[in-house]
């Protein structure tokens, strides 16, 4: 075994990661070669020096208050909202509507009205989620969004969320995304930022992406979205949808 090869295996040797026969060959070489054995000592010394350094403990008070601070942080942030909350539905409207619909005089009329509304909703849902309808193909940095997500190894439910968000953004931004443009991602993000400005209750991926757009880290660079920003978004996605 030559010195060059031995040096490349020294760390693995030290960590006990080598196979038995390679380990024996390397050990034989080390007995005969001072340079390589010195190199091994340096590696040992480096790792020991790294391991021996400690960090200052912030003290008991810090640990006593840690959980309390987490709870404070949780209560200071916006509560997680329902995933498919109806946009632009006024506060208290549900209660008012219920009281009107179920008043004594209009009860029978309202039952018919509710049944009609439900029927219309069912038809709309059927139309909206008809599998025969081709889904709008959104692209992410020039690549098919669904393929990118699958390749990145994200869970399938994320695809649904991203596509749903993209479609929502498309619809709420006035439906003017040029799907064939090479700047799809920028347009998608612009659309999402419009969405966030129009509708306050945003959740999950939509919320994340828009949060990134409106946050100080990304927004000022929206004119110059590069791979770093895309990676950044993916990291945020990875955080929200950890790989398992």
């Amino acid at each position: 075994m030559k010195c060059r090869k031995v040096k490349s295996l020294l760390l693995d040797f030290f960590e006990g990661e080598l196979k038995e026969d390679t380990k024996k060959m390397l050990a034989n070489h080390l007995v005969a070669c001072t340079r390589c054995s010195d190199e091994l000592k340096t590696i040992e010394k480096t790792l020991e020096a790294l391991k021996s350094s400690g960090l200052k403990d912030p003290g008991e008070d810090f640990w006593d208050e840690f959980l309390l601070n987490v709870k404070k942080e949780l209560s200071s942030q916006k509560p997680v909202r329902a995933k498919y909350r109806l946009f632009l539905w006024p506060k208290g409207a549900t209660a008012n509507l219920t009281s009107i619909l179920f008043a004594e005089k209009v009860r029978y009329v309202s039952i018919g009205a509710i049944a009609s509304v439900l029927l219309i909703c069912l038809i709309c849902l059927k139309l909206a989620f008809d599998p025969s309808e081709p889904r709008t193909q959104f692209k992410f940095a020039g690549r098919n969004l669904e393929e990118v997500i699958l390749k990145e190894g994200y869970p399938p439910e994320l695809i649904e969320d991203v596509l749903a968000s993209s479609e929502n953004a498309f619809l709420f931004s006035g439906g003017e995304i040029k799907k064939t443009s090479s700047l799809e991602i920028k347009e998608l993000y612009s659309a999402l930022s419009i969405l966030v400005s129009r509708t306050e209750p945003l959740e999950d991926i939509c919320y994340t992406t828009c949060g990134l757009l409106n946050g100080d880290k990304i927004f000022w660079e929206i004119e110059d979205l590069g791979m770093q920003e895309i990676e950044f978004v993916f990291e945020e996605l990875r955080l929200r949808y950890p790989l398992t």
Binding site: A49, G54, L55, K56, P58, W63, K217, Y241
Partner: protein, 180 residues
């Protein structure tokens, strides 16, 4: 003692005390990880707390296919990467300010104080992925498989990152004049 997964399961069912226990159990590990990664106590505190906020919010997404510890580490590492990226844009490097505590027995120290300082200066200048890998491997005892799970990279990449990091760091302790 209940396992992390059992506690998380209880929390998902609506027992908030189970979440408290998870925080108390992992707060030190996550704080010191954050401190190693960010090198700033105030930022480390924020990041550690934010990690548990994310655990709280995303608990329903944890499917139990990886260890709870790996999942929490992944959250903390991702948060720190975002944080460091923002910092590098502003050209800030607080890492040199990290206060290290010498080994309890100074005689047991294998290097001089000067060499130690130089070593950590170099650690803080390592590329982000190499530094995270080094910290997870050296201070948290993670296997390459666990590191790959936390960083979302192949096992081989995790190993290569660690090797590259050590290769650079050992130059500090290599006697002058030796060919690296």
């Amino acid at each position: 003692m209940k396992s992390d997964i059992e506690l998380l399961h209880e929390f998902k069912k609506g027992n908030p005390r189970a979440f408290d226990q998870l925080v108390l159990r992992h707060q030190k590990t996550i704080y010191f990880l954050a401190l190693r990664l960010l090198g700033n106590e105030v930022e480390a505190q924020d990041l550690a707390q934010n990690t548990f906020v994310q655990v709280f919010r995303n608990a329903h997404r944890f499917k139990g296919k990886s260890e709870f510890k790996t999942w929490v580490f992944r959250i903390a590492v991702n948060l720190s990467k975002n944080h460091l990226r923002g910092r590098s844009r502003k050209n800030e490097t607080d890492l040199d300010g990290l206060e290290l505590v010498s080994p309890s027995n100074p005689l047991s120290s294998v290097v001089s104080r000067e060499e130690e300082r130089e070593l950590f200066r170099l650690v803080n200048r390592l590329p982000r992925k190499q530094r995270i890998t080094l910290i997870l491997r050296i201070y948290k005892g993670f296997s390459y498989a666990e590191i790959s799970s936390v960083l979302g990279c192949p096992v081989g990449t995790a190993k290569a990152n660690f090797h590259q990091a050590i290769k650079k760091l050992k130059s500090v302790l290599t006697p002058k004049g030796e060919n690296l």
